[in-house]
């Protein structure tokens, strides 16, 4: 009982805070507390969002960005996961490649952007290549951790019951790694999205990142905030979706 009441309380307080922030966003620029040139009132931004969403140019940009994000993810996940599993499973390969990978992982990937432009130009391929490059590293590191998180006891138990290597993979490794894998998916998508955005804002002819960057340069703040809202909605939606799946596995997480 107490817990349920508290939950409602928390939801109410959250809603109140959200209303407060949104209200302040509307009132503060109108009252002249903040410069409306820098922060246009919320209503103006929402109206601009509707206008922008109706423009074919913006729709195309959304489509391009979405495709870049999806394709980069589809490339990065298997490549990163395979490399990560290989490093964890073959100690010899791990001993050789792990330090190198950690070195490269620690370097900010954006410094490689000019190279990606020289190789791939500033089109679709370059966005995908750069985002996949940054994302694969995150997945690789997490996949290694996921494999190492599988308790050797579980493998021993399965072996003692005569499990084949394939059965051990399917019946022990996959379910055992599931919570970590889902978390990896969620976090790597954040990196993936960031990769595409940075590449688009740095040099591009289309895409949401490109539009946001342009709007900023031209001091079109309502448009810029509209773009921010578009992106945030998509990113938060994906994140929450995976988090929901994670919560389902959280009961047996140890």
């Amino acid at each position: 009982m107490g817990l349920i009441v508290k939950r409602w309380q928390i939801i109410l307080v959250r809603a109140a805070l959200l209303a407060l922030v949104l209200g302040a966003w509307e009132v503060a620029p109108r009252a002249g507390i903040v410069n409306p040139m820098l922060l246009p009132p919320l209503s103006e931004v929402v109206a601009m969002l509707q206008v922008q969403l109706a423009r074919p140019q913006v729709q195309e940009a959304i489509l391009v960005t979405a495709l870049e994000v999806i394709v980069a993810f589809i490339i990065a996940v298997p490549v990163g996961a395979a490399a990560g599993v290989a490093i964890a499973e073959f100690p010899y390969a791990g001993a050789i490649f792990k330090p190198m990978l950690f070195y490269v992982f620690s370097v900010p990937k954006s410094i490689f952007l000019p190279m990606f432009i020289l190789i791939f130009g500033i089109g679709f391929q370059q966005k995908v290549a750069y985002a996949a490059f940054t994302t694969a590293f995150v997945i690789l590191m997490s996949a290694t951790a996921a494999v190492e998180s599988v308790k050797s006891d579980y493998v021993l138990v399965a072996r003692s019951f005569g499990a084949t290597p394939l059965q051990i993979l399917r019946r022990v490794y996959v379910p055992s790694m599931m919570p970590v894998l889902l978390e990896t998916l969620r976090i790597s998508m954040i990196f993936n999205f960031t990769g595409v955005m940075i590449a688009e804002m740095y040099a591009s002819r289309t895409g949401i990142g490109h539009l946001i960057s342009n709007w900023g340069e031209n001091f079109q703040m309502p448009q810029l905030f509209a773009g921010v809202i578009m992106l945030s909605v998509v990113a938060i939606a994906f994140n929450e979706m995976v988090r929901l799946m994670e919560a389902r596995c959280s009961t047996w997480r140890t």
């Binding site: 003692s160 009961t251 047996w252 997480r253």
Partner: protein
């Protein structure tokens, strides 16, 4: 004398496990680390045998070898007359230390795990796992997940999982080591009850001298690494065992003898 009589009885009924001069050396620099040295033992069918010894003496290694989970460098291990080069759940069931249940499976699914590896149908699996669940006293807990069970209950599930394929030999590697003293005693008693209804040959590893004397027909004592068998003690307490026996002189004498052997070997 009782010891000799027991040995004869064991031989008459046929040995379930025969270990003949087994040695093992772990590969490493400088020729490797010797883990076991010239270990021999014979376990009669249906006997309850306990191995005690200091940490790192190689008793778990020995058990893993009996389960076909680990190689040995020298000697011979036969389970029911044949070597065991790889795990054979038809002949040997293994029950591990704590937390070896799969946390993503329910109690029943954990018990059925060995059966599902062999592609048995769901109905057939249930038909076999339900009686195991009652045998270990967990009827009604089939749909619970391991994190919803106490330590003692988890080990009951482990025992059921080890028994579900009905192997004649059951190997137990310190199964109750992680439990508190009271639960441990209860579980030992429960194990004896289960054992008496199933006629399994049990090899049980423990650190606890009380547990060893309470459970065993015979106790083998191992030396520190490289592990050797330094004593073989027949536990001539009547069955069924009761908690009151722990207070008897015989019980104390037996426990003391094991303790002296372990102390001497250091």
């Amino acid at each position: 004398m009782q010891y000799v009589a027991d040995m004869r009885a064991a031989q008459a009924s046929g040995a379930a496990i025969e270990i003949d001069r087994v040695s093992h050396v772990y590969a490493g620099p400088d020729g490797g680390v010797p883990a076991l040295s010239n270990v021999s033992m014979k376990v009669g069918a249906g006997r309850f045998v306990v191995i005690v010894g200091p940490s790192g003496c190689g008793k778990t290694s020995l058990l893993m070898m009996m389960a076909g989970l680990r190689d040995h460098t020298e000697g011979r291990i036969d389970i029911h007359g044949a070597p065991i080069p790889k795990p054979d759940p038809e002949r040997v069931g293994v029950i591990f230390q704590e937390a070896s249940l799969f946390p993503w499976l329910t109690t029943l699914d954990n018990i059925e795990f060995p059966l599902s590896l062999r592609g048995m149908s769901r109905d057939e699996r249930r038909r076999r796992s339900e009686p195991m669940l009652s045998l270990v006293g967990l009827a009604g807990f089939g749909e619970r997940y391991p994190h919803e069970l106490s330590g003692g209950m988890k080990q009951r599930v482990s025992i059921a999982r080890g028994l579900v394929q009905d192997p004649p030999v059951l190997l137990m590697d310190e199964p109750f080591a992680a439990l508190d003293e009271q639960t441990r005693m209860t579980m030992g008693h429960e194990l004896l009850r289960i054992w008496s209804t199933t006629n399994k040959t049990v090899v049980f590893i423990t650190h606890s001298l009380t547990e060893a004397v309470y459970l065993a027909d015979e106790v083998y004592v191992m030396s520190p690494r490289p592990g050797r068998m330094i004593d073989h003690i027949a536990i001539d307490l009547p069955r069924p065992r009761t908690y009151e026996m722990m207070a008897t002189d015989t019980f104390g004498r037996l426990r003391d003898r094991i303790w002296q052997q372990i102390r001497k070997s250091h």
